[in-house]
Subunit: 222 residues, 2 copies
């Protein structure tokens, strides 16, 4: 089951491509520039062990076409809506997994949410109700994704309208060795996307002994 | 340094009163009904070890007057604004710590945010800029607070306009033996308050092996 990662040449996209390929999931890496995608795909693949799944490069719409069901949107917020407009025609029968956080221009310690409430809700409004849009993987740092010697220190909150696609995305995400939680419908993205700037603030702060913080759902002691 | 806890006869308020008294912080418990507050204060105090700090009962405005600096608002969302109107006159020179989550009427797995964006922002708008309003302690379950044999399985994200009062609240919160993080200005409450219904959903879900979940900022492995 091949997945697409759009904006796959960025740090988040590359990290996800490596992690999914290592987990045995073939990846169609998409970019506005198919040549650049092919180059990055080859570069990443070469650095992975021989038993990793294939990573191939495409333009964004070509990557969508190559995906069996799941299309991960990993572009910067500034390219979110334009990329969706460009690939909308190819999404029929597929699930869009939106991992984009609307960070505020010039201040990544804040969000600047769109009128729809969140990136996930904006994507759902743009694509229409026939294409399920699921929010996920917002809070995992690109640095962590690319540091293949470390496991991912972040639980993943998955939201979106429709329980069946939400469960499919949770299953996909858990292939990365992380715990995924059902966080409810798309409106929950207003919260989940906005956790990222709080983590960025914590990372930047001199008050804490670590960077690249994640979040964890914390079970009680008894 | 006595603190006030308004809505202190509810489960969240009672749990916080116990925890703060055990940490050596005297508590003025406030309620609309001063008699009820005195009754609960006596009941709680009796059950705590002799070296715990004092817990006294008052009406809400009396509790505010008894507080040296910090006033914790722990009423249900339905009483949030009315309680603030009732105590507004007494808050001069003090910090309001708003722990209220605007849970949706009839569906605690969702928030129903006020036009201001969050409870914290609504309180700040209602009280005016001279009274600092800090959001904190939203994600700690009442059950956990009242289970004194367990430590609190929840980090605390503190937000509000003004770094100095934010740091004071972080210091107060850390007396409970939890880790507090600076989450930025009041707008971050839109995120932080909305984490609670996600935890409630996880608690209700049969998919997880625990209830009374908290959140933790998760450091990377290396």
């Amino acid at each position: 089951m091949t997945i697409a990662i759009l904006g796959g040449t960025g740090p988040q996209g590359q990290g996800l491509a490596k992690r999914f390929a290592l987990a045995g999931v073939p990846v169609a890496l998409g970019s506005r520039d198919a040549g650049r995608a092919a180059e990055i795909a080859a570069e990443i693949s070469t650095a992975l062990p021989g038993d990793a799944a294939a990573i191939t490069g495409h333009d964004n719409l070509g990557a969508v076409d190559a995906a069996d069901e799941m299309v991960i949107l990993a572009v910067p917020w500034s390219g979110h809506n334009a990329t969706l407009e460009a690939i909308k025609g190819g999404l029929s029968g597929k699930i869009l997994v939106d991992i984009v956080v609307p960070l505020k221009e010039g201040d990544p310690k804040k969000v600047d949410m769109p009128p729809e409430g969140s990136a996930t809700e904006a994507a759902q409004a743009l694509l229409g109700d026939d294409i399920p849009v699921m929010g996920a993987l917002h809070n995992v740092s690109a640095h962590t994704l690319n540091d293949l010697e470390a496991s991912i220190n972040c639980d993943v909150l998955v939201c979106g309208n429709g329980l069946a696609p939400r469960k499919k995305v949770m299953e996909l995400v858990e292939k990365l060795g992380v715990r995924a939680y059902n966080a409810g419908d798309a409106e929950a993205a207003r919260c989940i996307e906005a956790i990222t700037p709080i983590l960025i603030r914590i990372n930047i702060s001199k008050a804490v002994p670590f960077t690249h913080a994640g979040i964890k759902i914390w079970a009680p002691e008894h």
